[in-house]
Amino acid sequence: MLIPKPTLFIAAAIATLVAYSAPRLAKPSTETIEPEMITLQAGQMTYPPAGEFTRSGNPINTPLKTVHFARGLQIMKHQVTQAEYWKCVEDKGCPSAVLHGPASPDAPVVGVSWRDAEAYAIWYSGKATRRYRLPTDGEWAFAAGSQFRSEGWPDVNSSDPAQRWLARYESEFADDSIDNVPRPTGSFGANENGLLDVASNVWEWTDSCFVRIGIRDSGEQTITSTNCGVRVVEGRHRTYVTDFIRDVRLGGCAVGKPPANLGFRLVRGD
């Protein structure tokens, strides 16, 4: 079966239209490790956003959406490491259940729930002079560039629900070239924006909530439900995970491939 890869278009030409003009950040006054940030110039992107889309009650393939990033984006070059997260644990800003110590300080911290990631963002923002937060799904996709994968929902006949599940299953399990053991930062290389380890074996939390979106015949989109107890997770494929889960397991009625590990990186927020 042919499964078309979700498409992502980044209009690189637009990037020059608006120059990013945020003031240079002063160094945080604390001894917190300052992560390397990547600055993405302003631009726009057309991509399949997160959420489940229906038309007249039938599931449909996600319609593409164009998002503008007029002020660009500043995002951590690498996923938050064990050494970085450990400082937050030691400082009582993050739950100790995540880490018992920085066993592999240079490797990304994994086994992190959305709440754990959020705790780190709040703690870190308190240490730094500016606010840091988890990226939205769109911001993550913008930074991931060509390594963005979406759900891998295939283009199939929506009147037969099983075809969707089968095609998705095939697509999620197709790539088993990487094992599940986290590796030191940088092991999976950089993408065209300079972000390290984007499509690695560590998936990343985003701040976006799970939404259902109904499309009317007029083309108008309406969010029919929003569940912020479930957040969008991005990586080798997009998935949706309950916010307090640290380790997604295969099994039960969820037959898709679970993320191998849950980690995160932050963006600079305004």
Partner: protein, 378 residues
């Protein structure tokens, strides 16, 4: 045993049933005569069969017109380190023929199983084999104990139709340790005229899968991480302590977490009938097919008993094998698991069936999709 059962058995197979003992009339003479020491002295046709690693099963007839024969198999015991989950946890394993579970052996009632069991010099421990389907000699265990560098040939007559466990049983604490290190498999003794429903009508399968379930007991270090060992001998003492807790660290199908999911998911098509043989040599299990059923289930695995029908979940008693026949009616991904869901999801006992075909709206349809709760009319 109930009288209708006896009547059915007499009619279907011309065998005599007395207090659960099945004896084939025609073969009776050979039972009372002294057993020959060489297989070829039986003057029966001899067939050498190559075993296949589970979940697959070597080619076989479901019903046969042939006279009973000697079916010869060879198994090489392999001690080796294996990885049992996606976190890279290692187990010093012991295996029949290199796979966990060991390969499934299929013969017909009245056939003779002739096994050449080989313990290569590369191994470190004595091993043997106890066939639950065999009669006498501790299931063959008493006659097959071999050291590294030895082989043994055992022949036993398949007198009882059904699916049965075989396992290593070298004695004492060695027995449970060898079993929970991977040394178990299954034998299927088919009735000569094949499987039947409760009314004696023939049942067939288009595919057969053998799912062997194992409980593993991997020791942890002081930080809670799974330990690995250089050899079986080094692993033994710590492993025996974990075994005694009766709390497995892994419960898996086919030797590791995820062995039967993803690219290795079991496959079938809508309309096909699949026979799933499930064995557990040490511990109870409750197979369940999410979204499917057991059309015909021999829960205790013995084909002289009438199959139960339309089951949701069935019990595989520790130390036994069972068989379930199911015709897929709807495409999609099916989860086959043990319905102790903690063991299925957290310890690993989950397999997937990938079923191709056309969706049947009559059997299931999402009439109202997920959406806001509708206002109730007053």
């Amino acid at each position: 045993m109930t009288s209708p059962m006896i009547a059915f058995a007499l009619k279907a197979r011309t065998i005599v049933i007395t207090r659960g003992t099945v004896i084939i009339g025609a073969a009776f003479a050979t039972l009372v005569a002294p057993l020959p020491t060489q297989a070829n002295e039986l003057a029966l046709k001899r067939e050498q069969v190559e075993l296949v690693a589970p979940p697959f099963v070597h080619p076989h007839e479901q019903a046969t017109e042939e006279k009973p024969k000697i079916v010869a198999f060879r198994m090489d015991i392999q001690e080796k380190e294996i990885v049992i989950d996606d976190q890279g946890t290692k187990l010093q394993a012991m295996t029949f023929n290199g796979s966990i579970p060991g390969p499934m052996v299929v013969v017909h009632e009245g056939d003779y199983v002739e096994l050449t069991l080989v313990n290569p010099t590369t191994n470190t421990l004595p091993h043997n084999i106890d066939f639950h389907a065999a009669t006498g000699g501790l299931g063959g265990g008493a006659l097959t104990l071999i050291n590294p560098g030895e082989q043994v040939v055992l022949r036993w007559k398949a007198t009882r139709p059904g699916v049965f466990v075989y396992h290593c049983a070298p004695g004492g604490l060695m027995t449970p340790w060898h079993v929970v290190s991977g040394m178990s498999g299954a034998v299927m003794v088919l009735p000569r005229d094949g499987l039947k429903d409760r009314d004696g009508r023939p049942l067939h399968y288009d595919r057969i899968y053998y799912i062997g379930e194992n409980d593993f007991y991997v020791p942890r270090d002081e930080k809670g991480k799974f330990k690995s060992y250089e050899s079986l001998a080094e692993a033994y003492a710590d492993t025996a302590k974990v075994m005694q807790t009766l709390t497995p660290t892994h419960v898996v199908f086919n030797g590791r977490v995820g062995a039967l999911t993803g690219k290795a998911a079991l496959t079938a098509n809508v309309g096909e009938t699949v026979l799933i043989v499930h064995s557990q040599a040490n511990r109870d299990s409750r197979p369940h097919l999410i979204g499917g059923h057991g059309d015909y289930v021999w829960e205790t695995g013995k084909f002289s008993n009438r199959p139960e029908t339309d089951l949701e979940t069935w019990l595989i008693r520790g130390g036994s094998a069972g068989a379930a026949l199911y015709t897929f009616r709807q495409p999609g991904i099916y989860v086959y698991l043990t319905h102790n869901l903690i063991e299925a999801v957290q310890l690993g006992a989950t397999a997937h069936f990938k079923v191709e075909g056309k969706w049947d709206d009559d059997l299931m349809k999402q009439v109202g999709p997920p959406g806001p709760i509708a206002a109730t009319s007053k």
